[in-house]
């Protein structure tokens, strides 16, 4: 009885602590920097295995691109009316994954959420790699990728200028801004950690490498002050990007008149879907990472719990989006809208995709209401994989199935992905994984600087005082009940 009362009270009053109790500065450096500074021969075997698999898929990716460029986009399943097949599905999927990184690094920083600290660095890396994977798709989709710069408004003798009313051109600006701000933010955050690597480097090559990368960081008060200011400014700059990038992508669809796309609920619903998928990917990366590097005391259950909560919350918004989409399609009274909804849900060819996506994004996340599931790395990992599949299916339903049957029955056509569609998709996973494996080997995957700030905070302005007060309160409840 006493235990349960303590448990209930704990559930209501969150303990302010994010990382384990009694961490030391030096120990944190050891844990974060040692794997990076270890010589090539000391690289763990799991890394080599993973890297080899990732490189294999990267090979598949490059082969697919070479084949695509020599043969042309006809190697894909894209057709008329489904002019936007896999390339756009995968583009939206990848760019969505990036959003969790930006949310963690920028928004949670501005909202002073201490739990972002251990997971922000690799989440930001994830963002950048996801943007790389995403950005290549529309370029390849152009058919003549070597002239992609025609999208930019630059003076030329071709009499060429972009159509600014087209959201496809907004994409160019949205994604390039997003990519560059994310890289800057990530790099600025890395600088003190790079300096710490330089100072601990064992070989002269490492000293040279990290010494160059850390831009001569000397750790003076002035350097810290400027660093903090730049970091906050970039956070403020990234804040609107979380909303704007995926809203722009939603507008790619929504400003058209295609039934199923022209819905005003699209922008916020796309943003929520992006954060949803992004947090799934953060969990997919965090769970093995903390195990492999023994980081369980830095990426704690509290982090996973919060990621699970955010996944549940954004997942419910996405589910709301599906509900509104279907209801509005019916409520519009427009024949084409209604048929679009019918075709998605009951259509002969692809009904399974819709129901599978509801199962993945709607049903599979419901266990996250339970604390025990949110704090189980295994179940979180499983649910995150399911969600990633579900979010891919969502884009498949929105992009491809919507297009198969629009206004004119005479122009209806089915959509079948080809081998090269799949190979390019699996290959892009290889690109992502390769970059990520290189990242965790060459750079610290946790921000040592910020974790040390937390340690300092815990040691000097610690939350122990509040915890004591609350503990007293639970004690009261406990003795009260014990007496009864």
């Amino acid at each position: 009885m006493a235990v349960s009362s303590k448990k209930t009270a704990r559930a209501v009053v969150e303990i302010d602590r994010v990382i384990g109790k009694g961490e030391q500065y030096g120990a944190i450096d050891d844990v974060i920097n040692d794997p990076v500074l270890a010589g090539p021969l000391k690289t763990p075997r799991w890394w080599w295995v993973g890297f080899a698999i990732a490189m294999t898929f990267l090979g598949v990716y490059l082969t697919s691109i070479i084949y695509l460029i020599t043969k042309g986009t006809g190697v894909w399943g894209n057709n008329v009316p489904v002019a936007w097949g896999f390339p756009i599905i995968n583009f939206v999927w990848w760019i969505g994954i990036g959003h969790a990184g930006t949310l963690i690094s920028a928004i949670l920083l501005l909202f002073r959420q201490p739990w972002r600290t251990s997971i922000n660095r690799f989440a930001e890396a994830m963002t950048i790699f996801a943007v790389v994977c995403a950005g290549l798709y529309p370029i390849l989709h152009l058919g003549r990728p070597w002239v992609f710069y025609w999208l930019a408004p630059y003076p030329n003798t071709l009499g060429l200028f972009p159509q600014f009313r087209s959201p496809l051109d907004w994409d160019l600006f949205a994604i390039s801004t997003y990519g560059s701000v994310s890289v800057l933010f990530w790099y600025i955050g890395l600088i003190p950690d790079l300096a710490s690597l330089r100072d601990r480097a064992a070989s002269s090559f490492q000293r040279l490498l990290y010494g160059t990368l850390c831009l001569g960081w000397n750790g003076s008060a002035k350097a810290w002050q400027r660093y903090q200011r730049a970091y906050l400014l970039l956070a403020a700059l990234s804040f609107p990007l979380v909303l704007s990038v995926h809203s722009t992508i939603a507008l790619d669809f929504a400003v058209s008149q295609v039934p199923g796309w022209n819905n005003t609920v699209m922008p916020p619903y796309f943003v929520a879907g992006a954060v949803f998928a992004g947090f799934a990917m953060v969990i997919i990366l965090a769970v093995p990472l903390r195990k492999a590097f023994g980081l369980e005391h830095l990426i704690t259950l509290r982090h996973l719990d919060n990621c699970g909560k955010l996944m549940l919350g954004t997942g419910m918004v996405v589910l709301y989006g599906y509900t509104v989409e279907l209801f509005m399609a019916w409520y519009s009274g427009v024949e084409f809208e209604r048929y679009m909804a019918f075709n998605r849900v009951f259509g002969n060819d692809h009904w399974w995709a819709f129901w599978l996506l509801i199962a993945c994004n709607g049903l599979a996340i419901q266990p996250l209401w339970l604390r025990s599931v949110r704090q189980s790395p295994f179940w979180l990992f499983v649910i995150s994989i399911i969600v990633s599949i579900g979010m891919w299916l969502e884009r498949f339903v929105i992009v491809a199935i919507t297009l198969t049957k629009d206004f004119l029955p005479s122009s209806w056509a089915d959509y079948k992905a080809t081998f090269w569609d799949w190979s390019l998709y699996l290959g892009s996973l290889g690109l992502f994984a390769t970059l990520f494996f290189l990242f965790i080997r060459l750079l610290p995957s946790i921000s040592g600087t910020e974790v040390k700030e937390l340690v300092h905070h815990d040691a000097h302005h610690g939350s122990d005082y509040l915890e004591d007060i609350r503990a007293d309160f639970f004690q009261e409840g406990k003795t009260g009940e014990a007496g009864a």
Partner: protein, 393 residues
């Protein structure tokens, strides 16, 4: 906590609000008989939706603070609960609307429906019996939530040993209740607002209503908290500049989201340029008055408060933040006016005496019920575990 929070004496305020309310309503009824047919119900719908929205905003903020709130949530809990206590009264205020349905909603008119195939296609949803049934369900659920949360809260006040358990229970069910609120309010917004233009549809419409309610409610709460702080020492102590800033940040975030989805709706429907979805904006961009009001919402409803709320000083100063909050309520009143009234194609100057009389009348009753509920219990939920040690945070 040396100063035990008092139970407020709001008798005089309550009596005044009640008098204003009754007089306002009586005057509105008289003016309604003298006005052209239908005008009364138009104004009534507008005033009703605003005050209902304020109560519902309090409801969803109450859920949210139970779910995620720290000490700031416990601090504003009583005013939120008092706002929620008005919900059953608002259910009664809905009844008069039923007598004006045929004057407000074109889809109740068989001739209109026959001439409009798009409306004809949705009569399974837009018909009077189903409309009434849905409204009963909405108000049933909301009133149930109000009774349940107030009941649990009163229980928590009484027993110290149970308080942790009750707080935990309220926290656990608040998530599902938010889902219920979002779904019911989405359909309620379709029923009461969107179907005023029966051919028109927009997926985000319900969300605009909800965020507008949240803005009104958080602004109202900021105002109430500052007034309470001037009258009660324990609140004065707990309403630190940091907590005030938290509330200000909420107001800022809500305002940003409101602008984001409103402008998103405009961009999408304007680009679509289809008869059935652009209608709503054609009416609003047809006359200088409505266009001007739209621009006012953009510049003074979004940009001005947004830029002002960037300042930490404003969010930390009671008087300054209250001014922004009052402005935000005025903006939301305007926003609702812009949403509802253009549908009726009134002639001449759009704001009528009836709009004001009914706004004041229903508002008077609203505030009377609110202050009655607020003064019936100690002004701080002392048994809330989140309040333990709050004065040090």
């Amino acid at each position: 906590m040396q100063d035990t929070p008092s139970t407020l004496q709001l008798g005089r305020f309550q009596a005044t609000a009640l008098t204003v309310g009754v007089v306002g309503l009586a005057a509105a009824v008289i003016a309604g008989f003298l006005s052209p047919e239908g005008l009364f119900f138009q104004s009534y719908l507008y005033a009703f939706l605003f005050w209902l929205g304020l109560a519902l905003g309090c409801l969803v903020l109450l859920f949210a603070q139970h779910l995620a709130g720290g000490s700031w949530g416990a601090l504003i809990r009583r005013p939120l609960e008092a706002g929620v206590a008005v919900l059953p009264v608002m259910a009664l205020f809905f009844i008069p609307l039923l007598f004006g349905l045929n004057l407000l909603y074109d889809w109740t008119n068989a001739d209109f429906v026959a001439k409009h195939p798009l409306v004809n296609a949705k009569t399974d949803y837009l018909n009077v019996p189903f409309f009434i049934l849905r409204s009963i369900i909405y108000f049933g659920l909301w009133s149930f939530a109000a009774f349940f949360y107030l009941h649990q809260s009163a229980k928590q006040d009484r027993s110290e040993s149970e308080s942790g358990k009750i707080a935990y229970r309220l926290r656990r069910i608040s998530g599902p209740w938010i889902v219920v609120y979002v779904l019911t309010m989405t359909f309620a917004a379709v029923d009461w607002g969107m179907s005023l233009t029966p051919e028109w549809w927009s997926g985000i419409y319900g969300a605009i209503f909800m965020i507008s309610q949240a803005i009104s409610a958080i602004s109202f709460i900021i105002g109430v908290m500052v007034v309470l702080a001037s009258r009660d020492r324990s609140i004065d102590k707990l309403l630190t500049s940091k907590r005030l800033q938290d509330l200000g940040n909420f107001l800022m975030a809500f305002t940003m989201f409101w602008a984001y989805i409103s402008i998103g709706q405009l961009i999408i429907l304007w680009s679509n340029n289809v008869v059935e979805t652009a209608t709503w904006y054609t009416v609003r961009f047809d006359s200088t008055l409505w266009t001007g009001m739209g621009l006012f919402l953009l510049f003074f409803g979004f940009f001005a408060p947004f830029l002002i709320l960037f300042s930490r000083w404003v969010k930390r100063k009671r008087r300054a933040l209250v001014l922004v909050a009052i402005w935000a309520i005025f903006v939301q009143l305007t926003n609702l006016f812009w949403f509802i009234i253009p549908n009726f194609e009134r002639s001449g100057f759009q704001l009528t005496l009836l709009d004001i009389l009914l706004l004041v009348g229903i508002g008077g009753i609203w505030l009377a019920v609110f202050s009655r509920s607020l003064s019936s219990r100690p002004i701080l939920p002392l048994q809330d575990p989140r309040l333990k040690g709050a004065e040090h945070a």
